[in-house]
Amino acid sequence: MTAPVAPPRGAEAAASEANGRSWDFLLSVATPLVLLVLWEALVRVNLLDFRFFPPPSRIAAAGVALIRSGELWVHLGASLFRIVVGFAVGVAIGVPVGLALGAFRVLRVMFDPVLSALYVIPKIAILPLIMLIFGLGEGSKIAIVALATFFVVAINTLSGVRQVEPILLEAARNFGARGFALFRHLIFPGALPSIFTGLRLAAGTALLVIIAAEFVAANEGIGFLIWRSWTTLVTENMFVGFAVIAALGMLSTWLIHRVARLVMPWQGEEIDLASGREPV
């Protein structure tokens, strides 16, 4: 048989597609810039109250000051440490628990209702309890992030295992996979996309939880910075905090996306070898 060859795509089509993509990029960068300029202008002509919405130029200046004084790094470092450690602990427990619940029916019957009931409790609601158990120090902050991460990751992992195609299970069994091999070659890779969905969601939840925890129970951290800016009415610093949170959120999404691409090369986004006319 002749090896199928994907026909080369028309150079013209490729060029126009590249054009479209750079245009998209331009739009996605220009829009926020225009909005910032608009904001600055509206404050200058007094259509926006500068006490609530300091102009971007002043926020930037405040940010630079916070960086120069080293204060921003202290807060950022504190929050990052809590998020990273808590997230790691939550993932390290959540993934195995989700896999086990997905793979073993008995465990699922036993624990699924418990998990579902606890999942819907806003984690921040139990912060007082966490603080009772883990004290006022770093322990309680890490624990609340770990807890929030755990539930999201465990539930997504579980559903990932449940979504593995039955026909693939039949195939794996027919070709001799048993026990741990089934896990390694079928269940784990099959659940991976869903696990990464869990990680993405958990990163957002972790950020939310840590900021809220730092509002009420911390002496440093981005949440603390925002809260103190409110009590002292230094709104520029508050907005610096918002910007840092936004950057953290985007960074974590990007990072998780990169890791996902690395771990799941089979999902890639590059053009299919067999695109266009279907070779037989």
Binding site: M1, P4, E170, F175, A181, H185, L192, W266, E278
Partner: protein
Amino acid sequence: MIDTLREPPLAGAGREGVAAKIVARNLRKTYQGRRGPVHAVLDFSLEVQEGEFLCLVGPSGCGKSTVLRMVAGLVPPSDGEVAVLGRGRTQGQPLTSIVFQEYAIFPWKTVRENVGFGLQMRAVPRRERDEVVDRWLGKVGLRRFADAFPRQLSGGMKQRVAIARAFANDPEVLLMDEPLGALDAQTRIVLQQELLRLWEEDRKTVLYVTHSLEEAVLLGDRVVLMTAHPGTPKAEYRIDFPRPRGLELLATPEFSRTTYAIWSALQEEVVRAMEAEA
């Protein structure tokens, strides 16, 4: 589940000195339906000889896939006996390898890893595995795509991977569950030819489930027609066209006559099945 291999009392069940490879006796598979038990397969007996290409045809829902899964040991029969008789068991040779009707290749494994999967599960050494895989990739024309993932392949190429995976595993018998059913007509014809060529090279015992009569007559040595509700073998046709067979067979009056004869019998069944469902 490999315990479908039960040599006595079924050993030596073959006739005329030809060894039987698959033996099914009074197989029954009953599911608990809402209105009482439903017999997906009832009183199903069949012998497939060594080196025979047997096609199982019947209206959809007649239980042909269930029969195949019982032979593979993936579904336990409610009653009756089924056995795949093999002597290679000491060497760890697998009894059955299935080519599934959907694209049941692992999306997270490359073409090479998919084709070598059965060998890997049997702990065949890496170098030997690579050799076997390369040989089969060559035979199905996918050597260039060895490191591609299934996502990057067309439907026909994916199904070639599934076919190579089964052949490379070197089982006692090959089970094919409508392997070309999801393909478009042209791709299907191309793959029928390839399948014929591959099979005629080593003549492994094949149980081939399909709803396409032309396919059954083109490929098979024998065609067994199944009825639906319950799934029971109804008639059997020996197909004596000389091998190697090719597409030109489709143009012969004998081919049309044979296909039509089976179709006439099948037609009653299809109508009956449709009425039963209505």
